[in-house]
């Protein structure tokens, strides 16, 4: 019985097959409309979520399955102090597969060890969020036709952003990638991420503070939120905050086929005016997430694989 807690739980070949499956679902949705007939997905979200939760639930419904759910930590036995282990042991009795988000880091691994059905990590605190990375990968492949020879810019909070670490780690497994890491000094990619994913594999990367100076080199621009509370002092925040807001003006210097991504929610780091630009891919990214979750549910339930 297989769970997915970390994007590294899936080999590059498995990722390719999941993307192929997602493409097939997009092309032939009717073929999958009954694929999960009589199967139940339990969504256990012990932390607020809009996109991920709805995306999982929509995915299961589109596969012809059903969803049982807990509306939040307050509504579950967790509020009475029940352990993650006991919760998933119980839920395993009712559901065929579990998607879980939990505020504690490592909670998904504990769930996977105790559940008797597959567990998908839908985010464990600031730790891992593998299905976001699945959405990112499919978006890049669909927009760019593959992963070879791409220059990927990651911009904003690269220190605390779990999606960024996970994406770097996943992309570093493909040939010919180049990274441009754009962040304030305080929010640079942690050295252990660079060491594991980039240096060990001799993947070229540069670190800069200014987005405008490098935007013209990029094939992918992955924006993230720069939160004020991450800065050590207000002065630095005020000095740098505008440089990490993507505007139509800044996009003038970018390639015509740039793909702008964001894990969402955005607060103000991408101007709403950018939404009209054909290079804005972040809403497509959300939709791709649903298809990848469908592919992953099918894989973990050993259906159509």
């Amino acid at each position: 019985m297989r769970s997915v807690i970390d994007i590294q739980d899936l080999s590059p070949e498995e990722l390719d097959r999941l993307m192929d499956r997602a493409e097939d679902i997009i092309a032939h949705p009717d073929d999958y409309a009954e694929a999960c007939h009589r199967k139940k997905l339990a969504t256990l979200f012990f932390e607020p979520s809009t996109r991920t939760r709805l995306s999982f639930e929509a995915a299961m419904y589109e596969l012809g399955g059903n969803v049982i759910t807990v509306a939040g930590a307050d509504a579950s036995s967790a509020a009475k102090g029940e352990s993650v282990a006991d919760t998933v042991k119980t839920v395993s009795l009712y559901a065929d597969i579990i998607a879980m988000r939990h505020p504690k880091e490592g909670a998904a691994r504990v769930a996977a060890l105790n559940a008797s059905v597959p567990v998908i990590n839908a985010g464990d605190g600031g730790h891992l969020h593998p299905t976001q990375t699945l959405a990112d990968l499919l978006t890049i492949r669909r927009e760019k036709g593959g992963f070879s020879g791409l220059t990927v810019g990651l911009c904003g909070d690269l220190k605390f952003g779990r999606t960024v670490h996970s994406l770097i780690s996943a992309l570093s497994r493909y040939e010919g990638m180049r990274f441009v890491l754009i962040s304030p000094e305080e929010l640079k990619v942690p050295s252990y991420v660079k060491s594991e994913a980039l240096k060990k594999k001799n993947i070229p990367y540069t670190q800069v503070q200014d987005l405008e100076s490098v935007i013209g080199d990029l094939d992918i621009l992955y924006m993230t939120r720069v939160q004020k509370e991450r800065f050590f002092n207000e002065e630095d925040y005020l000095r740098l905050k505008d440089s990490y807001i993507l505007t139509p003006e800044k996009l003038k210097k970018a390639k015509s086929d740039l793909c702008v991504m964001h894990p969402l929610p955005r607060v103000n780091e991408i101007s709403v005016a950018v939404d009209q630009d054909p290079r804005a891919c972040y809403f497509k990214q959300m939709l791709n997430g649903k298809f990848m979750r469908e592919a992953l549910i099918l894989k973990l339930l050993n259906i159509a694989d």
Partner: protein, 140 residues
């Protein structure tokens, strides 16, 4: 300075100078119930200076805790005044309930009876990470 030899017990030897107290604490020897002698900065032919812990009586020891603090330490089991067993510890791949995760957001801080597990992630740097949240173990 001399400490009486023991008839039945355990001698943890070749501890790097300064690490003896940490091993004593991690093994919980203060509450183990057996008489314990710690010798620190003892002259050693091979090491220059070393620490030694003598435990009067055979008590269960978490060898991983010793290996975590000092992989070079040795554990000698003494029975009837004679050396019966000598173990080289080395660096353990996995630590269970030796150290605690310092990350307040780690599931191990709240989950009932979840063991504190750390895995060796970089042998050269002697780096351990929490098996649950992957936070790096704090240095000794």
């Amino acid at each position: 300075m001399t400490v009486d030899s023991i008839q039945n017990g355990i001698v943890i030897d070749h501890i790097a100078a300064g690490c003896g107290m940490k091993i004593y604490e991690l093994l919980g020897l203060g509450t183990a119930g057996a008489p314990v002698a710690i010798m620190m900065n003892v002259t050693s032919g091979k090491m220059g200076r070393k620490d030694i812990i003598k435990i009067d009586g055979e008590i269960p020891l978490n060898l991983d805790a010793i290996g975590f603090v000092d992989p070079g330490a040795t554990v000698n089991v003494i029975r009837d005044g004679e050396l019966k067993e000598k173990k080289r510890i080395g660096m353990p791949e996995r630590l269970e309930n030796v150290i605690r995760c310092k990350n307040p957001r780690c599931i191990s801080t709240t989950e009932q009876e979840l063991p504190q597990v750390f895995l060796l992630t970089d042998r050269e740097k002697k780096e351990y990470r929490c098996a649950w949240c992957e936070t790096k173990a704090a240095g000794l």
